[in-house]
């Protein structure tokens, strides 16, 4: 399962990036002037994830397809996952995940949020973990964004909710260590609410 590291989309960041570089430069100069300013202790980034974007209005195809998917998930549930959907608006669903037995996450509780675009399933859903229920994983950022190619450019319209859940569970099951991506702090500063705005560069599992 390819996953990887992010690069934020060019039109999103350059302005901000440039500012960051300048600030860093000045910071270095100041440091030199003041002779070793005491190093700030590392504080894990937290960012308000208050999402004020209006929910998409689903097309009839998307509605029918999601109804079918829910039916199938009731009939034949995915192990370690339950879906919480409100009949009046299928554009957003919550999945409660339990760390799979026999893995380093066994028994932990995670919350996954699906937001379906109007053009679902031609377009992929936006899938994020809701802080603080975010697994400690090398390819999952603390803001909840998941580095998983099938959610972005490798999405295929037949994958569906089940396919996404299975991919994420297998991602957890194969994790040897609890750790964050190396660029977690930078990413938290640069990303937008929608992980699909990030242009993801996927590596293989060794990254």
């Amino acid at each position: 399962m390819p996953r990887g590291k992010k690069r934020t989309q060019p039109e999103e960041v350059p302005e901000r990036k440039r500012r960051t570089t300048r600030r860093t430069k000045r910071a270095i100069e100041e440091d030199e002037a003041e002779e070793e300013a005491p190093e700030e202790p590392f504080v894990p980034p937290t960012r308000p994830m208050v999402d004020h974007r209006p929910l998409p209005v689903l097309s009839p195809v998307a509605q029918r397809r999601l109804m079918k998917e829910l039916e199938s998930l009731v009939k034949n549930p995915v192990e370690f996952a339950t879906i919480d959907a409100k009949d009046d608006n299928l554009a957003r669903m919550i999945a409660n995940l339990t760390g799979p037995a026999g893995t380093i996450y066994a028994g932990e509780h995670f919350v996954l949020q699906f937001t379906f675009p109007a053009t679902y399933p031609i377009d992929s859903p936006e899938v994020v973990f809701l802080p603080p229920h975010v697994p400690m994983h090398k390819h999952i950022y603390s803001v909840g964004h998941i580095c998983l190619s099938s959610l972005y450019d490798q999405w295929s319209p037949t994958l569906g909710i089940r396919g996404v859940l299975l991919s994420i569970i297998s991602m957890l099951a194969s994790s040897p260590r609890k750790e964050r991506p190396a660029d977690d702090a930078d990413y938290a500063r640069e990303c937008t609410l929608n992980p699909k705005d990030t242009s993801w560069a996927f590596h293989d599992d060794r990254c």
Binding site: V61, R64, R65, K68, T119, P121, I122, D123, S150, D153, S156, P157, T158, L159, G163
Partner: protein
């Protein structure tokens, strides 16, 4: 050809048959073929057919293989001979026909039921309804260039959509147009002997048929086939890249050079340059000076014997009020940058003169003894100025990176010759019709071409006498 008028200039006498009129010694149009977008398609079909011939597969599938190999036919054939299954799998090509399809099916995207005839399946046998396939393909096209290898919507299925399905499902419209454009781009960008003309808005592509680098597009743009910058002989691609970077670094500090206004060295009123030639006359005090070096023009003419030396960098000359902060390095750079910019501005100005030259030609044709052919010398002179300005501009990049020594001396000698005649030709060509002396202009055009030739050949021969 007329060759009187020139007394002291050796080299312009009677050897002008060496260079054909109108053909520049540094641009060989023979080495490039310029093609329009619809001809690109023909080229593409040609290669498809060649591969289909060798592999014995349908051309549309061969196109998928070629796309996978960025249109590198040789590499594709080689890899295919090694391991055809692997190559096909990676390209999403399934040669075997699909398994028997059911009479009715449920589309896995929209969850509706359809008859087989209303569905579309690749050889993988995954049936989807036409509407959903259309949505899938349109979405792929709006994602960008990767749409030319769009996979079957079935999760994990390797099969990819060939061009005919795009054409039939998308119908006519902007999505198909976009798809075709991406396809064309993948072809031109993949083919190592083909390049897009870099001029903005130009859709021609150029095919290299020889070893040359200066390519002239049908739109008139002259560019370097290797680095896509403006054709830059005698400077190398490497020099141009370094120079451009250097100029970007220094730009902010040197805006006074790139501006169109300088002070009169005598009375100090600001003077705006509104002509291509560097012979300036102050509007207030009538002082004549050189725009490039701000020295008196009297020192620039051949009459005084105090030749045109403003192309040579002289570290002792410190009369430049702007360069007082001068570390030598900066004044050295400023010297070249100022002249580079000067010729660049003059080149632009001369390009703007083309229209005026045509008007002058028309005016001239109303006179006895002038037909369009006989009046064409005015236009040719301006074209000659444009070319010389462009080359002179790049000689200052070349010169900047050239180490001191006898080669540099010879180079500066040749450069000075070309600069001097170009300056004169430029001045002559900007004159109003009634002041134009045909013979003089023709002579100077010929002389300038000659000096341009000498310079380029001199550099080609390594600048040794």
């Amino acid at each position: 050809m007329e060759d009187d008028e020139f007394e002291e200039d050796e080299g312009i006498q009677d050897e002008d048959e060496e260079i054909e009129e109108g053909v520049s010694p540094i641009v060989s149009a023979v080495e490039f073929q310029v093609i329009a977008p619809d001809q690109i398609r023909d080229k593409q079909e040609e290669i498809k057919a060649q591969v289909a011939d060798v592999l014995g597969l349908p051309p549309d599938l061969c196109q998928m293989l070629l796309i996978q190999f960025q249109w590198n036919k040789e590499l594709l054939l080689e890899k295919f001979m090694d391991n055809p299954e692997k190559v096909q799998a990676e390209a999403g090509v399934i040669v075997a026909p699909p398994p028997p399809l059911p009479a009715k099916f449920e589309c896995d995207i929209c969850c509706c039921e359809f008859r087989r005839a209303d569905g579309i399946a690749l050889n993988c046998g995954h049936l989807f309804c036409r509407e959903c396939v259309r949505g899938h393909l349109e979405n792929a096209v709006s994602q960008g260039p990767t749409c030319i290898s769009t996979p079957c919507p079935h999760s994990g299925c390797p099969a990819k959509y060939p061009e005919p399905i795009f054409a039939s499902v998308l119908g006519t419209g902007k999505f198909l147009e976009k798809y075709n454009e991406f396809l064309r781009h993948s072809f031109v960008e993949g083919s190592h002997d083909m390049k897009w003309c870099p001029a903005p808005g130009c859709s021609f592509a150029c095919i290299s048929t020889g070893g040359g680098t200066a390519c002239k597009c049908r739109c008139g743009h002259l560019f370097c086939f290797r680095c896509a910058a403006e054709a830059h002989a005698p400077a190398t691609c490497d020099m141009v890249e370094k120079w451009t970077m250097k100029c970007n670094d220094e730009r902010e500090d040197l805006t006074w050079i790139t501006g169109n206004t300088k002070q009169c060295p005598k009375c100090h009123i600001p003077i705006e340059k509104n002509q291509g030639c560097n012979h300036m006359t102050c509007s207030r005090c009538r002082h004549e000076f050189c725009w490039m070096c701000r020295g008196p023009w009297t020192e620039h003419g051949s009459e005084t014997g105090g030749y045109y030396k403003c192309n040579k960098y002289d570290p002792k000359k410190h009369d430049d009020p702007y360069a007082v902060d001068a570390k030598n390095q900066l004044t050295y750079y400023v010297h070249y940058f100022e002249r580079y910019t000067g010729h660049q501005q003059s080149q632009k100005f001369a390009s703007g003169q083309l229209k005026k030259a045509q008007e002058k030609m028309v005016e001239l044709q109303s006179r006895p003894g002038y037909d369009s052919q006989r009046a064409a010398f005015i236009l040719q002179a301006v074209e000659q100025v444009i070319e010389c300005r462009r080359v002179l501009k790049w000689t200052y990049v070349f010169g900047y990176y050239l180490k001191d020594g006898p080669e540099k001396n010879l180079f500066e000698f040749l450069q000075r010759d070309l600069e001097r005649t170009t300056e004169h030709l430029s001045e002559l060509s900007e004159a109003p019709v009634e002041q134009i002396d045909r013979m003089e202009l023709v002579n100077y055009s010929t002389a300038t071409r000659k000096f341009l030739h000498n310079l380029m050949v001199g550099i080609e021969n390594g600048l040794s006498r």
